[in-house]
C-alpha cells in the first residue's frame, strides 16, 4: 500500500501535471485517427493508465476505452473522472480477451517497468488480441538522450532498465507485427533549426522519450491509411546532433584556417619569422604523428569554451611545417600554458602527453614564461553564514543566549 502511495506521489511530483501530460499525448491522436474511420464501436485499451490522461483524450475523441492499472490510488483518480477502468495487470487482463477484439493498445511509460520476458509475452498477447490493422503503441524514456540515459531514467526507482528503441522495435517485428515506426518525442523544436550546436545540446538535446508504433497485418486498403506514420522520421536523435556538432566544429576550424592563412601571408614578408619558423618546426615535428591525433581527439568533445584550445591543437597537426610561424605557435602555447595552469588536472594530463614529445617538453619548459596568469585566478572571498563544520550551535541559538544574557543584566541593574 505504502509502495503504491509512494508511486502516486512520485508521479504527481515528477511526471508532470495532467494538462502537460495530456498536451504531450495529444500528439498521438493524429496517428490513431484513421482507426476511427475504419472501426466504430471497438475499444482501445490503455495499459498502465495512471491518472487517465490518455483515456480522457480517447473519451473526448469518441473512442471507447478501457484502462487498466495496478495502483488503486491512480484508479480512484480515474473513477473520479468517470473513466472506464479496471484494476488488473496487463498480462492477466490480455489473457482474458478474445482474439481480434481491440483496435488499439497503448502503454505509456510501462515497458521500462517490466521484465523483458513479460514484455515479450505482452507483445505476443497484444498481437493476438488486436484486430487486423490495429495499433500497438509503446512510449518509453529514450536512452539515446545521454542526460535521460544517465540521470533522469533513474529518478524513478521502479524503472528496471532503459530500452533502446531498436530493441523495442525489433521485439514487435519479431513477434509478428507487420510494420513498425520509431519516433522521438518531446524534443525541443528549436534545436532542429539551430546551427551552432553546443556540447550541452548534444548531451541533452535528443528526444527525451520515444514511441514505437507497431501495426498488425491488414489488407492494403486499411494499411495505406496509416502509411504516413511509417514513411517519415520523427524526433531528434543523438546522431543528428553529433553531426551538427561536427559541422559547427568544422566551421570554426575553417574560420581559423582562413585567419591563419592571412597571418601566413603577412608573415611571409618577415624573413626573421620565416627563419625562426624553421627552427620551431624542428621542435614540433614530433607532434605531427598519430599519437597526438589520438590523444587530442577526446578534446574535440570538450565544452564549447574550449574551442580555441582544439583549434590550436588542430593547427599543430594540419599546418605544413615550413609556413607555420613561430610567433603564432608561441601565442598558442602561451594560452595553453595559462589555461593548463588554471586546471591542475588537465595540467597533469598534459604533462603526461608531453612525455611523448621530449623536444616539445623541453621547449615548453624553457619557455621564457614560467607562469602565465589570467585574470580569473585571483583571491576571491565570499562570505556565508554558518559555514564551519565544527559548529555545534547555530547563530540563532547563540543570539538567543545573548538576548537572555542582556535581559538578565538589565534586571540586575534595575
Amino acid at each position: 500500500m505504502k509502495q503504491q502511495k509512494f508511486y502516486k506521489a512520485f508521479e504527481d511530483r515528477y511526471r508532470g501535471s495532467r494538462e502537460m501530460i495530456k498536451k504531450r499525448q495529444e500528439q498521438y491522436l493524429k496517428f490513431i485517427k484513421p482507426l476511427t474511420t475504419i472501426f466504430h464501436e471497438d475499444t482501445a485499451l490503455d495499459i498502465g493508465c495512471g491518472r487517465g490522461e490518455w483515456l480522457e483524450l480517447l473519451k473526448q475523441n469518441g473512442i471507447k476505452h478501457i484502462g487498466i492499472d495496478t495502483d488503486s490510488d491512480m484508479l480512484k483518480e480515474c473513477k473520479k473522472q468517470k473513466l472506464n477502468v479496471i484494476k488488473s495487470d496487463a498480462l492477466s487482463y490480455l489473457s482474458k480477451q478474445k482474439d481480434n477484439s481491440l483496435i488499439l493498445i497503448t502503454a505509456f511509460h510501462v515497458v521500462e517497468h517490466i521484465a523483458f520476458e513479460d514484455l515479450q509475452k505482452l507483445v505476443q498477447e497484444a498481437l493476438r488480441v488486436l484486430k487486423d490493422g490495429g495499433l500497438l503503441i509503446f512510449e518509453t524514456p529514450n536512452p539515446n538522450n545521454i542526460k535521460v540515459a544517465t540521470e533522469y531514467f533513474y529518478l524513478d526507482p521502479t524503472h528496471i532498465r532503459p530500452i533502446p528503441s531498436a530493441l523495442l522495435a525489433f521485439t514487435t517485428e519479431y513477434f509478428g507485427f507487420k510494420r513498425v515506426a520509431v519516433m522521438g518525442m518531446q524534443e525541443q523544436k528549436t534545436l532542429l533549426e539551430k546551427e551552432d550546436v553546443s556540447l550541452k545540446d548534444v548531451l541533452e538535446g535528443p528526444s527525451p522519450d520515444y514511441a514505437v508504433i507497431a501495426q498488425k497485418k491488414a489488407p492494403q486498403e486499411i494499411t495505406q491509411k496509416f502509411d504516413f506514420i511509417f514513411e517519415k522520421s520523427y524526433g531528434l536523435s543523438l546522431d543528428i546532433l553529433l553531426q551538427k556538432f561536427e559541422q559547427t566544429f568544422q566551421r570554426v576550424e575553417n574560420l581559423a584556417i582562413n585567419a591563419e592563412k592571412k597571418a601566413i601571408e603577412a608573415e611571409k614578408k618577415a624573413i626573421e619569422a620565416e627563419k625562426k619558423a624553421i627552427e620551431a618546426e624542428k621542435n614540433y615535428t614530433a607532434l605531427l604523428n598519430s599519437h597526438s591525433w589520438k590523444i587530442t581527439q577526446p578534446l574535440r568533445y570538450l565544452n564549447k569554451k574550449l574551442q580555441w584550445f582544439y583549434t590550436g591543437v588542430y593547427h599543430w597537426i594540419t599546418f605544413s611545417p615550413t609556413s607555420r610561424p613561430r610567433r603564432i605557435v608561441n601565442k598558442i602555447l602561451l594560452k595553453l600554458k595559462s589555461y593548463l595552469n588554471k586546471n591542475p588536472k588537465l595540467k597533469t594530463k598534459a604533462s603526461q602527453i608531453l612525455q611523448y614529445f621530449p623536444k616539445l617538453q623541453e621547449y615548453v619548459a624553457n619557455m621564457h614564461l614560467s607562469h602565465t596568469v589570467d585574470k580569473d585566478i585571483k583571491h576571491t572571498y565570499s562570505y556565508r553564514l554558518n559555514e564551519d563544520p565544527k559548529r555545534k550551535l547555530s547563530v540563532e541559538e547563540i543570539l538567543a543566549r545573548i538576548e537572555k544574557e542582556a535581559e538578565k543584566k538589565e534586571e540586575n541593574r534595575s
Binding site: 618577415a270 624573413i271 626573421e272 627563419k275 610567433r327 603564432i328 608561441n330 601565442k331 602561451l334 595559462s338 621564457h368 614564461l369 614560467s370 607562469h371 602565465t372 596568469v373 589570467d374 585574470k375 585566478i377 585571483k378 583571491h379 576571491t380 572571498y381 562570505y383 553564514l385 554558518n386 559555514e387 564551519d388 565544527k390 559548529r391 555545534k392 550551535l393 547563530v395 540563532e396 547563540i398 543570539l399 543566549r401 545573548i402 538576548e403 544574557e405 542582556a406
Partner: protein, 1015 residues
C-alpha cells in the same frame, strides 16, 4: 628568496627589447642564487575596456607566495604586494609622450581616457608599499616626473649577452635596427648623401618602413636584411663607428652594444637615453638631428680613425659599471624583510596609543617574552592616512596600510544606510576591496606560524590561509557579539550585522588554539555563549606600563604638591577622556564631592574637563587635555584617586594608572569592574552616596592610607604591569607554538628557586618516566638562568627563566603555558619514586570522568627526627592537597582560576584552598601509586625556625574567609592553635591585613585568645 619578475606580454605576441631585459634580469637573479620566476600577464591593448581590465587583473592578483615581486611594464606595477620593487621599463607611451603623435586630433573620450590612465599610473606607482622605484633610464624618469610628479632613480640594465668584441676598422658604419619611423633610419640615409668620404652605411634588420627607406637610399647604403646574432657582432666588431639617432629612445641597447665593441657612437640631442651615454667628443658625438651635421661627424671619424678608436675605448670604459651584479645588488638592497615571529592583525593603528584598545595592543606586544618579535598589521578606519612601517619598540613593528577609496565609499554608504559606522563590522565583506591590506595580511600569514587576531574582523578574509601549522590566537578585547548586541540591538537595520558578528566570532573561537580574555567575566561569557572549553580561555588582563608610571619619592612629591597646589590639603584625582560616563563622574565630583569635602583638593584631569563648566571652586581644578608627562606629574602630586563611574563597559584602565602611581582609590563597583585585588587593599569600593563618608574615613587614617599606597603599587606591579603581561604572553604563545603539532597529554610544572642541582636531578628522573606524551615546564625564579646547562631530554622541556617572584605565581604561570590536558605539579627538591608516576596518574584520570584531579602520595624521610621537618601527606589524605604532588585537569584549573595569588608572599594554604575548590568540581582521589619523594628539611635553616614558620599563619584568616566550614574542620584537626607558639599572633595579623571580621566565624572565635592585639 622566491622572486616573481612580473612581465607583460602583448596579446599580439609581439616581442622587443623589453623581453630580452626580462630574460637577462631573470637569469641574473637566478645566478645570484634566487628562485626567480617570471609571472607574465597578457595585456590586451586593443580597447579601453581591455586596458582597464588588465590594470584590474594585476591589482587583484595574489602573488603572496613570492617573497619579493619586481614589476616592470605597464600595468604590472598595479600589483599589490608587501615586498614590491618597481623596475620600470615604461608606462603606456601612447598616453604619454607619444600621445600627440598617435592622436593628432584626439576626441574628448580619448583625452579623458588618457587622464584616467595617467591617474591610475600615478596611484599605482606612488603606493607607499612600493619600497623603491627604479627606471631603466633618464627618459623614463623624466617622463614620470613630468606627467606623474613622481621621483624615481635610474638603474641602467646591462646587456643580456656580452659576446661583443672589437676587431678592425673597415670603411663602413653600422646600425642594427627595426626599420620603423621612430628609429629615424631615414635621417641616416639622408646623411649619407652628404658624406664625402668613401664609406658605407650598413643597416641590419627589417620592418614596416623597409620599402620606403630603400627608395631613399643611394649606393652608399647597404641593407643587410635580417642577419644572425653572430653576423651582427661581426658587423659591430669591424665597423668604424655606430650612428644611432632614434627619436626619444627610452633605452637603446645599441649604445651599449657599440661601446662593448669599442666603437664610437654618433647620436642626436633628441635621441633620448643614448644622449646620456654619449659624451660629446669623448666617446662619440651628440649633434643636432640634421643630416648634414651627422654627415660631418661621419667624415670626421673617417678622417681621424685613431681618434675614433680612442673614443670607442672610452665608450667601453664608460659602461663598465653597468653589470648585472651591480643591478641585482642595488635592486635587492631595497627588498623588505619580514622576520618577525608573531603576526598580529587588526584594522586600527597602534600609534599613538590612545584609548584602551590601542594601549592594550602596545602593552601586550611591546616586548613579548621568549624573545619573540612581533609584527602588527593594522590600518585606519578613516580616510586619508598614509602607509606606515616603523618600529614602536625594539621588538614590535607596526605596519599600517590604508584601506582603498572604494572600500570607504562602500562602507560609508552602508554606514549611512544603517545609521552606524560599520567599517569594522563589515570588514569581512569589504576587505576584498582593500587588496593592499589583504595582501600584506596573507603574505605574512604564509610566513608566520603564530597569528593573533585582535578583534575578529579580519579572520573570515584570511581563514583559508591558516593551516595546521599555525597557532591561531584570538585576542578578545571584548566579547564582540555581546558588546555589539548591547550597542546595536535597538537598530533594526543592524539585525543581520549582529548575526554575522556572532557567526564570525563563534567561528574564530572554534578555530583558535587560544583565546585571550581581558577578564574572568569575559571568559565565562565566552564559555556560556559559545560553549568554548575553559582550557582554551586564558586571561590576559589590561594593564599599565609600571616602568613609565611610577610613584614619586617623598621629595618629589612635596615639590610637585607645591607646584600644583598652594595649600596643605590632601588632593584627590580623577582622570578621563571626553566620554559620557566620564562626564557624569566629573559632574558628580564638581557638584557633590567638591562642595561637601572642603578639606580636599579635587583634580579633574584629561579631556573630560573640556566639556565641564570651568568655573572652578577653590578646591576644584579642571585641567582639560593633558599630555603623558603632565599626567604623570599630576598623578605623582596627588594623595589618592577617586573613580565615581556609574556606567560604561569594559575595564577602567585609569584604575591601573592610579595603582601604578601608588594612589589608593575610592571607586564604585562599576569603576572597579573586572579588576581583582588578590587579597591586597589598593581600593575601596563604595556607592556614590557613600563617597563623601568613605573619603573622610580614609583621610582619618593616615597609616591606612600609607599602607594602601604600597599595596596599590604592588598590585599594579604583580598583576597589571604590561611589562610582565607581555613577558607572560610571549611565553604563552611560544609554548603553544613549540608543541602545536605534538600530542602532549600531561604537563609537569616545576617552580624552581636556587636549587639548580636538585632541579637537574629531578629532570633526569623525569627522563626515565615510562609515559611518553608529556612536557615539562620549569619556571625558574633563580637569579641566574641555567638554560645553558640543561641537557636534552626525551620529553619536551620548556625552561623559562622568570623574574616574577613567588611560587604561587610561578605555578599559575606554568599552568598557563601548559598544553596538556592534565597538569602535574611537583617541587624542584622532590622526585617521583618510580617511572610509573605520570603513567599511573594519567590512567587514573582517564578511568573516570568524575575525576578532576589526583592527590598523589608524598613520602619523606627523617619521619621521627625532631631536627627535621619531614613533608608527607600520609595520614592526612584529602586534606592538604600539597603541590609537591598534585594533578589537575587543565580545564578545571582554568575554570577555577588556578591558585589564588592572595596566598602568595609568603605562600601558604594556596594548595589547600585550591584543593577545596577543586573538590567542588569533582572527585580528587588520593593515589598511593602516584608517589613522590619529598626530602625532610633540617630545622636549623633560618626560614624553618619556629617563629619564621609560624608567620605563614597570616594566611589562615584568608582560607577561613573563603571556606568557613572546611577551615573549621582543618583548624580542629591540625590543632596548630595549640601546638604552634606564634599561631595566634600571625592569625590576628592576617585578620587585620585582609580586613576580615572574626566575629562572623564564631567556631574559630571561640578559641581565639581575647587579650588586646599586641600589634
Amino acid at each position: 628568496m622566491k622572486i616573481a619578475l612580473i612581465t607583460i606580454q602583448a596579446a599580439s605576441g609581439e616581442k622587443g627589447g623589453a623581453e630580452s631585459f626580462f630574460l637577462g634580469l631573470q637569469k641574473a637573479l637566478k645566478n645570484a642564487g634566487h628562485n626567480c620566476e617570471t609571472v607574465t600577464f597578457i595585456s590586451d591593448e586593443s580597447s579601453q575596456e581591455k586596458i582597464l581590465a588588465s590594470y584590474e587583473t594585476c591589482h587583484t592578483m595574489d602573488l603572496t607566495d613570492y617573497d619579493l615581486v619586481i614589476s616592470t611594464k605597464a600595468p604590472s606595477y598595479a600589483i599589490s604586494h608587501p615586498n614590491h620593487i618597481v623596475y620600470l621599463v615604461h608606462t603606456m607611451r601612447v598616453f604619454y609622450d607619444m600621445f600627440t603623435k598617435e592622436f593628432p586630433k584626439p576626441n574628448s573620450r580619448i583625452k579623458a581616457f588618457r587622464e584616467k590612465i595617467i591617474k591610475k599610473d600615478t596611484q599605482a606607482l606612488s603606493k607607499a608599499s612600493i619600497s623603491k622605484l627604479f627606471t631603466i633610464g633618464h627618459e623614463v624618469t623624466k617622463r614620470l616626473k613630468k606627467y606623474n610628479k613622481i621621483e624615481s632613480e635610474v638603474l641602467h640594465p646591462p646587456l643580456v649577452h656580452e659576446h661583443f668584441y672589437c676587431d678592425g676598422q673597415e670603411n663602413y658604419i653600422f646600425i642594427p635596427s627595426r626599420l620603423h619611423r621612430w628609429k629615424r633610419i631615414d635621417l641616416l640615409i639622408e646623411a649619407m648623401q652628404y658624406v664625402r668620404s668613401d664609406i658605407q652605411l650598413h643597416i641590419a634588420g627589417t620592418g614596416e618602413d623597409e620599402q620606403s627607406l630603400k627608395k631613399l637610399a643611394n649606393n652608399k647604403v647597404v641593407f643587410l636584411g635580417r642577419i644572425s646574432d653572430e653576423a651582427i657582432t661581426k658587423e659591430y666588431a669591424n665597423a668604424l663607428a655606430v650612428p644611432f639617432v632614434p627619436l626619444q629612445e627610452d633605452y637603446g641597447y645599441v649604445t651599449l652594444e657599440a661601446f662593448k665593441s669599442k666603437k664610437a657612437v654618433i647620436t642626436c640631442n633628441d635621441s633620448g637615453e643614448p644622449s646620456y651615454f654619449v659624451k660629446d667628443g669623448v666617446n662619440g658625438f651628440v649633434c643636432k638631428a640634421d643630416p648634414q651635421e651627422i654627415a660631418k661627424k661621419i667624415d670626421y671619424l673617417y678622417e681621424h680613425k685613431d681618434e675614433a678608436k680612442e673614443m670607442g675605448k672610452r665608450g667601453f670604459e664608460s659602461i663598465k659599471h653597468i653589470t648585472w651584479d651591480n643591478v641585482i645588488k642595488e635592486l635587492l638592497s631595497h627588498s623588505k624583510k619580514y622576520d618577525e615571529d608573531v603576526l598580529i592583525l587588526d584594522m586600527q593603528p597602534i600609534d599613538p596609543p590612545v584609548g584602551g584598545g590601542r594601549l592594550r595592543l602596545l602593552g601586550l606586544y611591546h616586548n613579548l617574552g621568549a624573545k619573540l618579535k612581533s609584527l602588527y598589521l593594522g590600518s585606519y578606519d578613516w580616510q586619508g592616512e598614509k602607509f606606515r612601517d616603523h618600529k614602536l619598540t625594539p621588538s614590535l613593528r607596526e605596519v599600517d596600510i590604508a584601506l582603498s577609496d572604494e572600500h570607504f565609499t562602500q562602507s560609508n554608504a552602508l554606514s549611512q544606510a544603517v545609521g552606524h559606522n560599520i567599517i569594522d563590522l563589515m570588514f569581512h565583506k569589504m576587505g576584498d576591496l582593500s587588496k593592499d591590506y589583504l595582501m600584506h595580511a596573507i603574505y605574512n600569514i604564509k610566513r608566520n606560524n603564530i597569528v593573533v587576531f585582535s578583534h575578529p574582523w579580519i579572520y573570515p578574509l584570511v581563514k583559508t590561509f591558516l593551516t595546521d601549522k599555525h597557532l591561531v590566537v584570538y585576542d578578545a578585547q571584548n566579547v564582540e557579539s555581546y558588546l555589539r548586541y548591547t550597542l546595536l540591538s535597538e537598530n533594526e537595520a543592524c539585525k543581520d550585522i549582529i548575526k554575522e558578528i556572532i557567526d564570525i566570532e563563534y567561528e574564530l573561537c572554534l578555530n583558535a588554539d587560544i583565546i585571550l580574555c581581558c577578564s574572568k567575566e569575559d571568559r565565562s561569557t565566552f564559555n556560556r555563549l559559545y560553549e568554548i572549553p575553559f582550557d582554551k580561555l586564558e586571561i590576559i588582563p589590561n594593564g599599565v606600563f609600571t616602568s613609565k608610571i611610577i610613584p614619586p619619592n617623598s621629595n618629589q612629591k612635596v615639590e610637585l604638591q607645591q607646584k600644583y597646589f598652594k595649600n596643605q590639603k590632601k588632593t584627590a584625582i580623577f582622570m578621563g577622556s571626553n566620554y559620557g560616563p566620564n562626564i557624569d563622574a566629573a559632574k558628580f565630583i564638581a557638584t557633590v564631592l567638591a562642595p561637601s569635602c572642603r578639606n580636599v583638593n579635587f583634580i579633574i584631569a584629561g579631556s573630560v574637563g573640556n566639556v565641564l563648566n570651568k568655573e572652578s571652586q577653590n578646591n576644584l581644578y579642571i585641567t582639560g587635555f593633558i599630555d603623558e608627562d603632565e599626567k604623570l606629574h599630576l598623578l605623582q602630586a596627588c594623595d589618592f584617586a577617586i573613580n565615581p563611574m556609574n556606567g560604561g563597559s569594559g575595564t577602567n584602565i585609569k584604575m591601573f594608572d592610579f595603582m601604578a602611581a601608588g594612589l589608593p582609590i575610592i571607586t564604585t563597583a562599576i569603576g572597579a569592574r573586572g579588576i581583582e585585588q588578590f587579597g591586597k587593599k589598593a581600593f575601596f569600593v563604595a556607592d556614590l552616596n557613600d563617597f563623601v563618608n568613605t573619603i573622610e574615613s580614609l583621610l582619618a587614617e593616615p597609616k591606612l592610607l600609607d599602607h594602601m599606597r604600597l599595596s596599590a603599587r604592588e598590585l599594579a606591579l604583580e598583576q597589571f604591569s604590561f611589562e610582565n603581561i607581555s613577558f607572560k604572553l610571549g611565553h604563552l604563545l611560544n609554548s603553544h607554538a613549540q608543541t602545536l603539532t605534538k600530542d602532549i597529554k600531561v604537563s609537569i610544572i616545576i617552580p624552581s628557586y636556587e636549587r639548580k642541582e636538585l632541579l637537574l636531578i629531578l629532570l633526569e628522573k623525569l627522563n626515565k618516566q615510562s609515559f611518553e606524551n608529556f612536557e615539562v615546564i620549569v619556571i625558574d625564579q633563580s637569579k641566574e638562568s641555567i638554560s645553558n646547562e640543561i641537557a636534552s631530554y626525551k620529553f619536551e622541556l620548556k625552561y623559562i627563566h622568570s623574574h616574577i617572584k613567588g611560587a604561587v605565581k610561578a605555578r599559575n604561570f606554568g599552568a598557563m603555558l601548559a598544553t596538556g590536558e592534565l597538569l602535574g605539579f611537583i617541587d624542584d627538591d622532590c622526585y617521583p619514586i618510580n617511572k610509573e608516576w605520570i603513567k599511573n596518574a594519567y590512567e587514573l584520570y582517564k578511568s573516570d570522568k568524575t575525576i578532576v584531579g589526583i592527590e598523589g602520595k608524598i613520602s619523606s624521610d627523617h619521619i621521627a627526627d625532631l631536627a627535621y621537618r619531614s613533608v608527607s601527606n600520609v595520614g592526612c589524605e584529602g586534606l592538604g592537597f600539597m603541590t609537591a604532588n598534585l594533578f589537575v585537569s587543565k580545564y578545571i584549573f582554568n575554570k577555577i582560576d588556578g591558585f589564588d595569588e592572595a596566598f602568595d608572599n609568603p605562600h601558604f594554604r594556596e594548595d589547600t584552598d585550591f584543593g577545596w575548590r577543586m573538590l567542588d568540581e569533582g572527585n580528587v582521589p588520593y593515589a598511593h601509586n602516584v608517589e613522590v619523594f619529598h626530602p625532610a628539611h633540617k630545622k636549623e635553616i633560618a626560614r624553618e625556625s619556629d617563629e619564621q614558620r609560624d608567620t605563614f599563619f597570616i594566611k589562615d584568616p584568608l582560607l577561613m574567609a573563603k571556606h568557613p566550614k572546611r577551615y573549621e574542620q582543618l583548624f580542629l584537626f591540625e590543632k596548630h592553635y595549640i601546638q604552634r607558639p606564634y599561631f595566634w599572633k600571625y592569625f590576628k595579623k592576617g585578620l587585620q591585613e585582609y580586613a576580615i571580621d572574626i566575629q562572623k566565624y564564631k567556631e574559630i572565635y571561640k578559641y581565639m585568645p581575647k587579650e588586646k592585639d599586641p600589634l
